[in-house]
Symmetry: C2
């Protein structure tokens, strides 16, 4: 069942009491009943001394399972305040990708103090993992996988799994290495259990493993995992040396992060890297002001367009009533197209080579939508009582603005992608800005022709 | 390695040749070298008769692994054209959630024809699964899980896994049921392998399983899976009867779908359900026209606002030059805030109870950004040579419009969420429209006061 009969606050209060009393029996009850994730949510709400008590009262593997769901800040606080032996135990229980995340988040002095608790060769492995660029496959890799050799039998392999399995993040796959540590292939635990005990791994191995180089961008890794329905993906260096594996739970976080990034960009701001409330006012300001200024400058030419048509405007002031409506409609139509296409490109449905197909589809849709909007625009102009002549100008302009917006927003993201610019920078606000000025030119040209001004 | 030395087109041509020659040896080489997903991509490109040959030449489990990556259309075509025995074999190899997806996509006559190939009690299970609403947990469930009883020993359980494991979608968890089929808890395959053979499951079972009711929305299920780092989640009916399990690969698809839906909504259109190119012009039109019309009607009141200020406007025609710039800036600032907040709510970072915290943060950010934009707006007005007085009006208006846009777009998505309306309907275009009319009122009120009109 999803935990939820007692409220979170009640559970928290109970936990605080139990910790103060040092009642091991009731403490054991609480932690065995709850999920690590939920215990972590309680842990962060406790006072500092209760946090230490909480972690100290748990067996190290369970303590680390919970601690891994919290911030590096809290992790460091706890590790720094427990006795040395316990800190060493906990750190060695932590999965290696989480150790890397923790150490990278700390001040180098703090990081090297924690490093001292690790055995020498593990320390070297961690140092290497820390060198990978953020957002690459290497930075997400953990070394807590199960490796076997191709000349082992199924029985030997299962024996090995029993010995090292407790520390592994995932046991669904066993990675088969040659004598140099190069990845030869993979066998699944399922297949191993189903096989005869005497079978050699070499006879069961699947050599066509999907693996990724350490410098591949995390979004690409997530795409591969989703496409091929994997629960883990090995990361290799040149010559197929196995560096580590990335597990599906970390890649789900990546999928969320990347979607958030795209959404923020499409909304016309720099993506926030931290959860919303972790951003200060100053932080939000910095993420937003850049694009606002760029868009402001781009939009500023509408002023020149309007000044250019100043005499037309003063002769028929009624034309000005429809400026926001017409450019707004163009912006809306463009935003619809651009968000659809940028997302379609992000999930790999649309590529640059599809540009003519996209243009044809969007142009046709734009014509139908434009015709529709032209009709409504005419009705609206009549309702405002500006006369049939101005009504005609407004209607015709609506048709052309929608078509124009469709064309621009169909082509632009594809071209940017081709130029290796993230198409998500063509946000709704960007397209709206672009269509505003050009829309005004369409509007006044129509007016001058049709009203004979 | 990621497949990719030979190009896709080359591989496809080779495959076509091999199929025409009926060369079993080379065919075996090709399919053993490639991933099911990649083979599926080739399969859909083949001619109809080659598609049948391809499937007929493979052992049924492998054939189904590949076929599951294709559309129901192709699946039906293949199943309908093979000999009956083969069709029955294939259908029984297909995982139950995919059988349900296929049958639901077909005409009832076609579906019932395929149903006849299934054994009677499996047919009943499938019928029940087909009754769940789309986008609910029940609709994603598969019955291909491993179940054990709590009085079994580890040895008996592993024996059972060996017997039924080949058909299971996932073997990482073994679901422990009581005599009535109610879910008592779970043991992981890893724990089972690590345990002594004589241990009873009852002693190892984790009773606090995260499970979901069959009518839970798929997005919520995906959220739980991501939070708790699971690779599968059991679906239960009332009284904890186990209906099936949902595996992580299906939930990754859900996460993608839900992000796409939100992005489309934020772009101001109804979400597309199918991949971009599967939508006809008419289909795109229908998804877009509704919101465009609503926004048009909402935007239309800007016409009334401007007509109301007609005399002010004709006295100082220079005011009109800044209309697109000012309302555009308000719309951009609002779009930034709204997309950030809608996403933060979708991933659970912001709740309605945070409304005051959000308002405070957005208001402060809005004041800083507004001050900045006011300054640039003044400079811009001077550059256009409209005089200091109009320049002052434009600058002050810019400040207030940005602040106003921040307030509206901070509050609105939270209130809608509280009213159980999806906050993603407050799209960028929606906020821009809302800010346009109110922005004009701010502008002309300022003008009348400051210019003494």
């Amino acid at each position: 069942m999803v935990t939820g009969t007692a409220t979170f606050q009640d559970q928290l209060t109970e936990l605080a009491h139990v910790l103060d009393d040092g009642d091991k029996q009731r403490f054991g009850d609480i932690v065995s009943r709850a999920q690590p994730y939920d215990l972590a949510r309680m842990l962060v709400e406790l006072t500092a001394d209760r946090q230490l008590k909480f972690i100290a009262m748990l067996p190290p593997p369970r303590a680390m399972e919970i601690l891994e769901y919290t911030d590096p800040e809290l992790q460091y606080y706890v590790l720094d305040h427990l006795d040395e032996q316990r800190t060493a135990q906990l750190l060695n229980e932590m999965s290696s990708d989480k150790v890397v995340d923790l150490l990278l988040a700390l001040h180098p002095h703090q990081a090297s103090r924690l490093m001292d608790y690790l055995p020498r060769d593990y320390r070297e492995t961690i140092s290497k993992l820390m060198d990978f660029e953020p957002e690459t496959a290497g930075s997400l890799a953990t070394v807590d996988y199960i490796a076997a050799r191709h000349l082992w039998t199924v029985e030997q392999t299962l024996e090995h799994v029993r010995k090292v399995g407790r520390d592994a993040e995932i046991v669904s796959y066993i990675y088969v290495l040659d004598m140099q540590g190069k990845l030869m292939g993979v066998v699944s635990l399922k297949e191993t259990i189903l096989a005869e005990p005497g079978t050699l791994l070499a006879h069961m191995i699947r050599e066509e493993v999907i693996s990724v180089p350490a410098d591949m961008h995390q979004q690409k890794v997530a795409d591969l995992l989703a496409k091929y329905d994997l629960v883990a993906i090995p990361v290799v260096a040149h010559d197929n040396y196995l560096i580590g594996i990335i597990t599906v739970d970390d890649l789900i976080d990546v999928i969320h992060e990347e979607a958030t990034e795209d959404i923020h960009k499409l909304g016309g701001s720099q993506p926030l890297e931290d959860p919303y409330f972790k951003n200060s006012v100053w932080g939000l300001f910095r993420k937003r002001i850049g694009w606002l200024l760029i868009l402001f400058v781009a939009e500023a030419y509408t002023g020149n367009v309007l000044r250019y048509y100043e005499s037309t405007l003063s002769e028929a002031i009624a034309l000005s009533f429809f400026i926001p409506l017409l450019i707004g409609t163009g912006g809306n139509a463009g935003t619809q197209t651009v968000t659809t296409l940028v997302r379609a490109m992000a999930v790999g449905e649309v590529k640059f080579s599809d540009i003519m197909k996209v243009l044809r589809k969007e142009l046709s849709t734009g014509v139908v939508i434009g015709a529709c909007m032209g009709l409504v625009a005419f009705v609206r102009a009549e309702l405002l009582g500006v006369g049939v002549q101005v009504g005609n100008v407004v209607a015709i302009t609506a048709v052309f603005i929608v078509i124009w917006a469709s064309i621009v927003s169909a082509i632009l993201p594809l071209i940017l992608h081709k130029l290796k610019v993230d198409p998500a920078v063509v946000s709704g606000p960007f397209i709206a800005t672009l269509v505003d000025g050009t829309g005004l030119i369409i509007y006044f040209t129509m007016a001058e022709i049709m009203l004979d001004l």
